[in-house]
Symmetry: C2
Subunit: 333 residues, 2 copies
Amino acid sequence: MPELRKDPIVGRWVIISTERADRPNDFQVQHVERGNSFCPFCPGNESATPPEVLAYRPGHPNPNGPGWQLRVVPNKFPALMIEGELDREGHGLYDKMNGIGAHEVFIETSNHSKELADLSPAEVEALLWAFHDRMVDLRRDARFRYVLVFKNHGEAAGASLEHSHTQLIALPIIPRRVQGELDGASKHYESKERCIYCDIIDQEKRESVRLVYENEEMIALAPWAPRRPFETWILPKKHISNFEDAGRGIYPAFADALLTVLKKINKVLGRPPYNFTLHTSPLQKPGLPYFHWHLELMPTLTKIAGFESGSGFYINPSPPEMTAAFLREADVS
Amino acid sequence: MPELRKDPIVGRWVIISTERADRPNDFQVQHVERGNSFCPFCPGNESATPPEVLAYRPGHPNPNGPGWQLRVVPNKFPALMIEGELDREGHGLYDKMNGIGAHEVFIETSNHSKELADLSPAEVEALLWAFHDRMVDLRRDARFRYVLVFKNHGEAAGASLEHSHTQLIALPIIPRRVQGELDGASKHYESKERCIYCDIIDQEKRESVRLVYENEEMIALAPWAPRRPFETWILPKKHISNFEDAGRGIYPAFADALLTVLKKINKVLGRPPYNFTLHTSPLQKPGLPYFHWHLELMPTLTKIAGFESGSGFYINPSPPEMTAAFLREADVS
């Protein structure tokens, strides 16, 4: 008998097909591969991107020159524009504002042939510090309410360039799904005076069936009501609502957890395309007692039926207890 | 300058890239085509599906035999099971219920080589009547709260069989996005005592720039804040919250509007894959003053970046005023 499961934070119901139970080999994975065409993110082509806003380039002092390990540059085709005053306007029933915002690209490595899962722990930690540094810088800009950090890996997941990169969009609004999480978590806190994510971590540690990986500071798990097969969340064990204030000690542990989860996913699913999104509290609301930053990762395995994003109703052929077991047991040491 | 636009019903913000403004030829459309393999939906293969729950078979009295124009059968691989008592259960923090529900398939035509857009107005009207008949039947079952009617057309839109069909899922819960619409519309009604969809229709008729098509009873438009290029809504002009009580007079007009919109989309975009979802009020709540049934249609044109469904934040490269103009001006008479 299939199950209907409810996400405890946002209240979304998902059908979990317990019988069909698609296993890793049931998916037609579009393995991510690399080609050889001109790449604007490769060393030597620095002038093909807008000038960098941040770079880690030890021993090489010249911006936009070679010798970098990681570069952050404005998106050449930005979805939003950084210059201008925020202008809100009504239009009959409707609301709009001009598209002020930042749209930046983190070039994670100078090596075109490596994907994020192939980097060293120190390189992944540097990427997390770059998220931190850019968020701290952007939150000084009073026009912005939220910074959305996300990665599209592989063409089927929406990546238009193959050189490994993550993106950031700073927004003058709070995205709806983030607001839904904030509202749901706040409601739980009102009635229980506890953070719902802390409660989830407690229950998942006790039950252990949906556990994917943990280290001292971080935990990775398959959520109770996943939208897609192999959806995985990575959370800090200690309560803190915003990523950029998580503290120096957490980044090595987060790098370890992220890298381990990506390697496990690559091992079990054969280098699939994926997306991840960092969920953190709004810029002007740090230190919330009810919200808990985390990362949500989804491999691209099933055809996306538009009706799912249209209706907000998901059918997931793989129970999280099964996907968690596959990932937990995959040896990537 | 790009624009940030807010959907007035659910409050979702969308980035509309007014500069880039992808035109119909900018998309790599995966044109929908037909093959020749065995089809369980073709006449003569009636025994390959579960026994029909409804069929229009003028002059041919035998169920599950030939001579039909339209058949409705249970899905052979249902996401939910029709038999059993509804059993709700807590699990620590979490909620679940057993997967009770109906999952049915409307085989729209006996002709394998035709898609919905190729059918006659009378055939499309028959399909709408079949939706009506199944909804009226299913709402007698007290276990069900909502009937979701949706179509995945073409492989890229999630269709696993190519013979033209629509699906229905009867659910013991109300899908989250439907609930979001009900909440948003109800809030508007509380403050204005008007239906927000009626207000939208008024404004769209006045402005006409997002108008795609209208006849006496129905209107088709590009919404103010579309998630995807060429997203199109079809609404009845007269206020009514539930599809199955829309009244006999509306179905010929709805068939005309749906058929015209599909032909226009095929003409402008070259037979793209698409999804549509019928939005209607919950089964036990007919006659709502604040909700207004309608159909939402989205061609599959862009790579779906999972981050969009993950974050609830959409970037749409095609302004609705542009897509509406292309569709409005496409001559399909």
